[in-house]
């Protein structure tokens, strides 16, 4: 078992024939993901990577039965692409693109919610169910099947965490990179209940960072609803106030959104908070033993 995606999930790629889209679609297919086609307006009817190309998401969904879309379009077109996916009845849109304006996401997310479409990202590595289905840009070989569910705002920290978990002798059921922008799709509190229900997942690792309140909301949610152990690391304990740390959302503004605030809230909710990012794997192993 796993959450959201597995080996039977049918995926289309928006921005299929572009450089990024092509490279990563190929990698996903090599991992075993069922990429059933793609969308590039104006190239409908062609074949790319042995899969059909469509002009619209609607046509792609009709012809292939895809339920998930992987989005690689440039930042200015992300909102349009997400809304098109929602309109076409896609169930989950995974947006990798970095640099989307906040205002665009505000509209796109509101529309996705209205249409009942789940969203992952933008500005994220995507989602992977180990050894079954990779929908994103993560290096697949780091992920081995196992009992740990992983949720992270950061791409490279997702890899770091999975690597530590695997080296400690365990593995990852599903890993979700939720992205580091101010407005994102699924967040911790949306994913935690899915992992709670997933029989394969025995423990959840969540990786957060400075800025915003998602980790605080997660702490409140965990206290009330999550029975499985949770291990957390919050990046940016040494970050200065008022400076954006790479991710558009990683900023302590007005003294709010500090790592300490989040670590305290999570600890109070019974989460195993690690201070050092090197202790994730060890802590997981100690709990699962």
């Amino acid at each position: 078992m796993s959450i959201l995606v597995n080996k039977n999930t049918k995926v289309i790629v928006q921005g299929f024939t572009g450089k990024e889209g092509t490279f990563h679609a190929e990698q996903c297919m090599a991992y075993g993901t069922q990429i059933v086609g793609g969308v590039t307006p104006g190239k409908g009817g062609q074949t790319h990577l042995d899969k059909p190309v469509f002009n619209t998401v609607e046509e792609a969904v009709k012809a292939t039965g895809a339920t998930v879309s992987l989005i690689f379009v440039p930042p200015a077109f992300v909102a349009d692409a997400v809304m098109e996916a929602a309109d076409a009845g896609i169930e989950l849109a995974v947006t990798i693109t970095e640099g989307t304006p906040v205002k665009d996401m505000m509209y796109a997310k509101a529309y996705a919610v209205k249409k009942g479409m789940k969203m992952i990202g933008p500005n994220c590595p995507g989602i992977i169910t180990s050894e079954e289905c990779k929908i994103g840009i993560m290096p697949g070989f780091i992920f081995k099947k196992g009992p740990v569910g992983l949720i992270s705002k950061s791409g490279t920290l997702t890899y770091e965490a999975s690597n530590q978990v695997v080296k400690a002798g365990y593995g990852v059921s599903t890993a979700v990179g939720i992205g580091g922008d101010p407005i994102i799709g699924l967040s911790y509190k949306d994913l935690l209940p899915l992992f709670e229900k997933d029989p394969e997942t025995k423990l959840i690792v969540m990786i957060g960072e400075i800025g915003g309140t998602l980790e605080i909301e997660a702490a409140e949610f965990i206290k009330e609803n999550i029975t499985k152990p949770v291990v957390a690391f919050i990046a940016g304990q040494t970050a200065p106030k008022g400076k954006r740390m790479g991710h558009a959302g990683a900023i302590i503004s007005g003294g709010k959104g500090t790592a300490k605030e989040k670590m305290d809230a999570l600890s109070a909710a019974g989460v195993h908070v690690v201070v050092s990012p090197a202790d994730i794997g060890e802590t997981v192993a100690k709990i699962l033993k």
Binding site: K103, A110, H247
Partner: protein, 391 residues
């Protein structure tokens, strides 16, 4: 990106948000001319230092002049001065331009602000009767004095939003509509320009019952600048860290800090975590540096060069988790970079992920003696802190 008060007020004027008349000046002579243009017979002119930081009033950056001669005197005093406010940090900010505006007759000071509320994912407008005070302070001490309205962009700014604010501020009913048009115009500025912050502190009511934006602070969504040429043209590079700008040109995201351990990392999250673990192991990070997905010889070399410009740096931690980027390529990049840039401090290298073994071999065989390889994150952090403390 942030802009100056005088630029923000220019935008306000375009949208019909009332502000005092004023002119920007870069030289004392022009300040006097500006004062005369505003009217040689005014009672009060206000001379305001233009820097991207608040708290100017308390720091002596806002002067009331009683004559055009006084305007000239204050202009001379402020231009070129380094102003230290509670928002600039101890090093302060140098004043390169000033704003000369009409003095207003203040009856009452209010606060009006707008930001993205990340919890509701909608813009929220905030108003308070505690104008002139710092809003964070008001929020901490007397949160009931801040009136907040969340505005759903699907419906835009409606009358009821404005009424909630106006009546919440206790305005008499004959002033309510005037206030609502003011607030509505501010909302349109926020949305049309992809702002992420607008702060008017103070928004005043004059003795003749007019509302005026006396101060104006605006920040914008960097990701939207490509479609905001008017804002982009207002960018003042003297307000930004030159090294940060230069790093940006090479696709590097760099922020200088106070410690002595330089960091070069791929990915913003891992870069923050690297700073954290350095601290955890007893050291102090000298910078945040995300080299992004590329990590080529050229970017790594530039990274070294930028890190080493900081004389405090005693050792460097290169922490790369190779995904799509292969570690062996990064290792070669590091070797080449050491040829392009002289690196004399110890460099602790941790390369993990794709082709990590090949990378270790390349580095071990390189014969460069100040390169120390580390087997994982913890090992690397320990070694680099040790090296920095020795150096």
């Amino acid at each position: 990106m942030n802009i100056h008060e005088h630029q923000a007020k220019e935008i306000f004027r375009k949208y019909g948000v009332p502000t005092p008349k004023g002119f920007v000046a870069f030289k004392p002579e022009n300040a006097v001319k500006a004062a005369q243009q505003l009217g040689g017979d005014l009672d009060v002119w206000v001379v305001k230092a233009q820097i991207h930081a608040g708290g100017r009033g308390k720091a002596g950056g806002v002067k009331l002049a009683r004559s055009t001669e006084e305007v000239g005197m204050y202009a001379k005093e402020l231009l070129g001065k380094t102003l230290v406010t509670h928002q600039t940090g101890p090093e302060g900010k140098r004043v390169h331009r000033i704003y000369i505006e009409e003095g207003a007759e203040i009856e009452k000071e209010f606060y009006l602000g707008m930001v993205l509320d990340r919890a509701s994912e909608k813009p929220v407008m905030m108003a308070s009767t505690e104008g002139g005070m710092e809003i964070e302070e008001v929020a901490a001490k007397t949160p009931e004095k801040i009136i907040k309205v969340e505005i759903d962009p699907a419906i835009g700014f409606q009358g009821f939003h404005g009424r909630k604010l106006a009546f919440g501020l206790g305005l008499p009913k004959e002033q309510v509509n005037k206030f609502i048009s003011f607030a509505q115009a501010v909302y349109h500025v926020y949305m049309d320009y992809d702002a992420n912050l607008i702060e008017i502190n103070p928004l005043i009511r004059t003795k003749d019952k007019k509302f005026l934006a006396l101060d104006a602070k605006m920040g914008f969504d960097d990701n939207a600048l490509y479609r905001q040429p008017e804002i982009l043209a207002m960018r003042d590079l003297t307000e930004e860290e030159p090294t940060e700008i230069e790093a940006g040109k090479y696709g590097l995201s760099y922020i200088k800090l106070d410690g002595n351990v330089g960091c070069m990392v791929n990915g913003a999250g891992l870069a923050m975590a690297t700073m954290d673990i350095i601290k955890h192991e007893g050291g102090q990070p000298a910078n945040f540096l995300d080299v992004g997905g590329g990590a080529s010889a050229e970017t790594v070399a530039k990274g070294f060069e930028i890190i080493l410009r900081d004389p405090n740096v005693k050792a460097i931690f290169v922490n790369i988790f190779g995904g799509i980027v292969r570690c062996d390529r990064v290792a070669n990049g590091i070797l080449e970079a050491t040829k392009l840039t002289k690196v004399e401090v110890p460099v602790v290298v941790r390369l993990d992920g794709t082709n990590a073994e090949e990378a270790a071999e390349i580095l071990n065989n390189s014969g460069i003696k100040n390169i120390i390889s580390a087997k994982d994150l913890k090992d690397g952090a320990k070694k680099v802190v040790e090296a920095a403390n020795r150096g």
